[in-house]
Structure formats: C-alpha cells, structure tokens
Amino acid sequence: MRLTVPHMGMLHIAYTRVLRKNGVDMVPPPKATIKTLNLGVKHSPEYACLPFKINIGNMIEALDAGADAILMPGGYGPCRFGYYGIIQEQILRELGYTFKMSTTDNPDRLSDMIDTIRDISSIKNRFDGYRVFFLILMRMAALDRAEALYHYYKPREINTGESDAALKQAVLTIDLADSYAKLLSAAGNVKKLFREVRIDRGFRPLRVGVLGEIFVTIDPFANLSIEKKLGEMRVEVVRGVWLSDWLNDRFRFKPFRRNQTRLSTKIAKGYLDYPSGGESIETVGKTLMFHKKGIDGVLHIMPFTCMPELVASAVIHRISKDRDYPVLSMIFDEHVSEANMFTRLEAFVDLLERRKCEGISRN
C-alpha cells in the first residue's frame, strides 16, 4: 500500500518521516502549484471551497505519482469538510482511479486516530500507536513554534531573506528529528538558527492579527503567501490559528496550553454565543482578544463560499464598529486577483500605521 494524505500547511512534514520509519509507504502529494489548483478546479463542484479544490488536485497528483491509498480526515466535520472525503472518493473513482480510501470516522477521538495508525502501519501494539501519534503531534507543535519565530524575526530582519532561510533550515531540522530525544535537541537548534538572524532590536513593527478558516490561513499556497508579504512590509504577524492548537484542543498534548476553542467561546460570549462551525468561534473570540492585547488590527482570511467564516465575518465587523478596531476580511478562491488583494493589504497597513502615529501624537 502506497499511502498519500492531502496537504495542509506543514502537516506532511510532521508525519511523513515518522510513518515511513514505522513501515508506511508514504507518497506525499507533490508541492502544490498552479497545475494542482487547475486540476482541482476542473474536477470539483464550482461552489466547493478552495481547500476542497486543492485537496482534489493533491490527490490526483499523488495518485499519478504512484499512490494507491488515500487517507482523508472526515467523519462529522467542523463544517462541510466532514463530507469532503466521501465526495472526493466519488470524484476520483469517476475519473477512473483505483485506490483504497480511508476516512477517519471521528478525527476528534484519540482512539480513532490510534486505530487509523495501527491500520496503516506495521504498528500493532496500542501503546506504540500512542507513542508514534504523540511524536507526530509534538513535531507539528515544533513546526508551529518555528513559524511563530519567523513571524517575529521577519519584520525585524536587517538582511532581507535571512529569516526565510532560517525557517527553511528550521523545518529541515525538525523534519530530521524522528524520535522524542532528537526532537528535544532540534527545538534548541531551531532557536539558535533564528538567533543568528540579524535584527533591528529597537524597531517596533505594526502587529496584525491573522485569523480565519484554518486551511487557507496556514497554507501559503492557498493565501498567496500573505504572511510573508506582511513580513516584507515590515509588519509582525500574530497568528491566531495554529494546527497544533487545533490538535491540542482535541488530544491534549501541550499541558501548559489552554484549550483555545473553549477560551475563544468564553471571550466571544455576547457576540457569538454558539459556535457556528469551522473556526468561527475562534475568529470572533480572538478578534476580541487581539483588541484587548493591543494588536493593531485583524486580517480575517476565508475561502469563498465558507459559511462559518461568513458568519464570523459579519460578527467581527460589528466588533470593529463597536470598538473602533480595524478589521479587513479577505476572501480567497481560484479567481483571486493578486493586484487587488495586495492593494487592499497595503492600504490596510497604511491605515494601521497612520492610526498608530496619530495615537502616539495624541498622548
């Protein structure tokens, strides 16, 4: 069995090497390109969201590269996503591919995840299943920490590109750490890598909170590398959604990190009393949190036709009005116009900058 899993941010880096070591013949989809997107768009329902289309593109390219089994998280999902695996299987079968499709029944339940791992790998012992699964989670958390460091260093770097190189090296370091012991020393090395980036210590960049639907928010291919763009404009990204947080809310592997969904639900009270699917409650809760923390503004990212984020978008624009807090919503799909997107982003950053200057002069 040659297994593939569609991409989501850097998730594939967390699991590929570990699963390979445990007897899974992994075929990760090739890095997404325009060709991936075109394939996805061609074979997807028009009103499916961008993540669905990129998934389909990933699956087709992986199957063409020799994969014969697909693992797709599914079950009851946070939104339409729960149903995606089933539709994607049908689309691929109609295209004439033969493959084995596994969808996890309930991606929120630990025992289901362990069963899935035992199902696909040479691991038969339940305890070993836990050990491997938690190693993957820890690797994901390490990757997220590296990216958070990047967000800090990028706007402050003196030599353009140094923090990008550091991130690249950090990701490689974490990728090679395929045991708990190695991961521990890799974490130290990652910090060292970033400490070598020369930064302007006196510089106080604007801080923009980045929130929204998790796939498009964390995937640079889906969002036209918007975080890097902000960094190049010397703006510090404060991201509110992380894959490791999402996983931690379900599998509790970071003992000192609060459950972010619950925390957001608590803060969002009064504006959104019940989760309306997806990351909507996080978007609302964290917009309020960022406002309180003094983050300069919020960039809200969502795929076109995303119902949960559409609800959140209406709510956070209300917050924006009530609290005089700048919020910009950006909608992504395959028709997105880069020029229009960056014009608005630039104008938003100018707006924040002016507000900040005025604020200082008033005090």
Binding site: I34, R344, L351
Partner: protein, 314 residues
C-alpha cells in the same frame, strides 16, 4: 523651485502631474493608456519636457495598478497603492473631508476619513459593475460618445429603472427597456442610477457616509453620475477641479519627503523601451515572467513567484 512628480498608471488612463512643495499643480497630463503603459508614460514625459523644459525634479511617486511598472521605468522614490494616494490628495485639498468616492476605469473605492486619517475603506473585488469601463462599453453600444453620456442623461424626465446588480444583467435589462420603447436619455439616466445603487450596495454597506463627500476619479467627469449620487446621498458633495488626477497628486505629495531621488530623468522618454514576457518552465507554477528591455539590455524583470529571475539582474 522644488518640483515633485506624481505618476498614476491606471487600467484605462495614465496621469502625470508636477507639483511644487506646497502641492500646487504646475503641470498635468491625462491620457489613455491604450494597453501600452510605457508608451503613454513616455509620451507624457516628452510633453512635460516640451512644456516645462528640463526642470529639476526632487522626488517621484507612482501609484495605480501599473505603479510597479512605472517604478521600474522611471525610478520612483515612493510606490504607493491608490487608496492611500487618493486619500492623501483629498485631505490635502479639503482638510475636513470625511468620505471619498473614487471611481476609475476598473476599480471603485470608498474611503472614510476622520480627522484627516483613513479609518476604513472598501474596494470592489471581483465585479467591474459600476466602473468607468462599464459605462464606456454601454456608451459604445448605444452609439454615443462617453463625453456626452452625462449631459444626455441629465436631459431625462423619468429615468428607466435598470437592474444594476451585475453588468451582464444590467446590459440585458437595458436592452429590454430599449425594446420596450424607453428613449435613450431615460435609459442613460437609468444606467447612472443603477451604477450608483450598485456602488452603494457593494461598497457602502453598513458604512457611515457623512459629508463633506468628495468625488474623484475619471467617472466624476460624468454629470449624470454626479447628479445620481447627489440624489441618493443628499450630502455636501464636492467634485474637485483636478478630479481625474487626484491619485497622481497624492503620489507626488508622498514623494515630497524624498532626500535623494532615484529618478532617472525625463530622458526616459527617448529610450527604446519594450517589454517581453516568457513562461518559466522550471516548475509547474509556470510563472509569466515579464522583462523590460532598453534596446538590448534587460533593465527589470518580475512576475516570478520565487524571485530568481529578478535576482539575476542586480
């Protein structure tokens, strides 16, 4: 005298202005881009040279959708988006302005200003309904010149009601009204109303439009649209004298704090500039790479998402 140059390369027109430090317009030019921004820019430059001689330019700002291209060609000190540039010139002209309506060839924008600072903005995203190109297209279809569109619309006694949500539907609805026997003036006035409705529905939803309102951009030339906005908003409504070149003025104002300019000089108009493009085949992204050549030498390259073609040069 210190002079500053502002360049606004828009989708349909290219604007060049020369201002002094106080922001007074010394010279300006407004011409159609005709799909050839470089030519348009060069001809504006040779006109500037002819009218003003070799004037000492202390700073250059570019804006508009072609701002990067213009920067590569002339060497700009400030490259800014249109929203910031328009806001700056409007505030410079009318310090207590609170709302800016800007409608250009393919963009429309709404900018809210409080105490001279941009506090909110919106811009049309995918739909071109309610922009200059749409009006021009309809004018051509009806066989009238765009310049007389507005005055003809003002002559209407009872504007036809035209569906304005989408240009395609607006067009078919317009044809329907025309076949029903509405006269041309009523249809033109109806189109103006539809455009304004569309603009307000798309961009102004939930936003507080308060006066003074300033209307700029090429479409402000159309008295029919101006009248339709006034009817709809019932606010103090100003169309500045320099309405079509406000973006360029904003860019020039931004360039005023330049210490040492990167400007390559007006002689750029004499260069044999041409662009070419190719698709990079190193990965399946197949980025379209664009290069500008001065006779045989490549002077700038961009469009590659990995940045390797641009890097080769410098």
């Amino acid at each position: 005298m210190k002079a500053y140059l502002g360049i606004d390369v828009g989708s349909v027109t290219t604007k060049v202005v020369l201002i002094d430090y106080e922001g007074n317009v010394l010279w300006n030019s407004y011409r159609k881009t005709m799909g050839q921004p470089i030519k348009a820019l060069q001809s504006a430059f040779s006109a500037l040279r002819k009218d003003m001689g070799d004037i000492d330019i202390k700073g250059v700002g570019t804006t508009g959708s072609g701002r990067k291209l213009a920067d590569h060609i002339v060497g700009a000190d400030k490259v800014k988006n249109e929203i910031t540039a328009h806001a700056l010139s409007a505030v410079h002209l009318i310090p207590n302005v609170r709302t800016i309506i800007e409608i250009g060839g393919q963009d429309s924008k709404l900018i809210l200003i409080r105490n001279g600072v941009v506090v909110d903005f919106s811009m049309n995203t995918v739909c071109a309904a309610g922009t200059g190109s749409f009006l021009e297209h309809q004018a051509t279809r009806l066989g009238i010149r765009i310049e007389e569109f507005g005055t003809r619309a003002l002559a209407s006694g009872s504007p036809a009601r035209i569906a304005g949500r989408c240009t395609v539907f607006a067009e078919s609805d317009m044809i329907h009204k025309q076949q029903m026997g509405h006269n041309l003036e009523d249809i033109l006035a109806g189109l103006c109303d539809a455009l304004v409705r569309n603009y307000l529905n798309n961009l102004a939803r939930g936003k507080d439009i308060s006066g003074p309102v300033i209307f700029q951009g090429g479409v402000a030339a159309n008295p029919g649209i101006r009248a339709a906005f006034e009817r709809e908003l019932k606010k103090e409504f100003i169309v500045p004298g320099y309405y079509p070149i406000m973006g360029a003025i904003g860019a020039a104002l931004l360039a005023r704090d330049t210490k040492e300019t990167r400007f390559k000089g007006l002689a750029v108009s004499e260069q044999q500039l041409h662009t070419s493009s190719f698709y990079c085949s190193d990965c399946p992204n197949a980025c379209g790479v664009i290069e500008i050549n001065d006779s045989e030498t490549v002077i700038a390259r961009w469009g590659d998402s990995c940045g390797k073609w641009g890097k080769d040069l410098s």
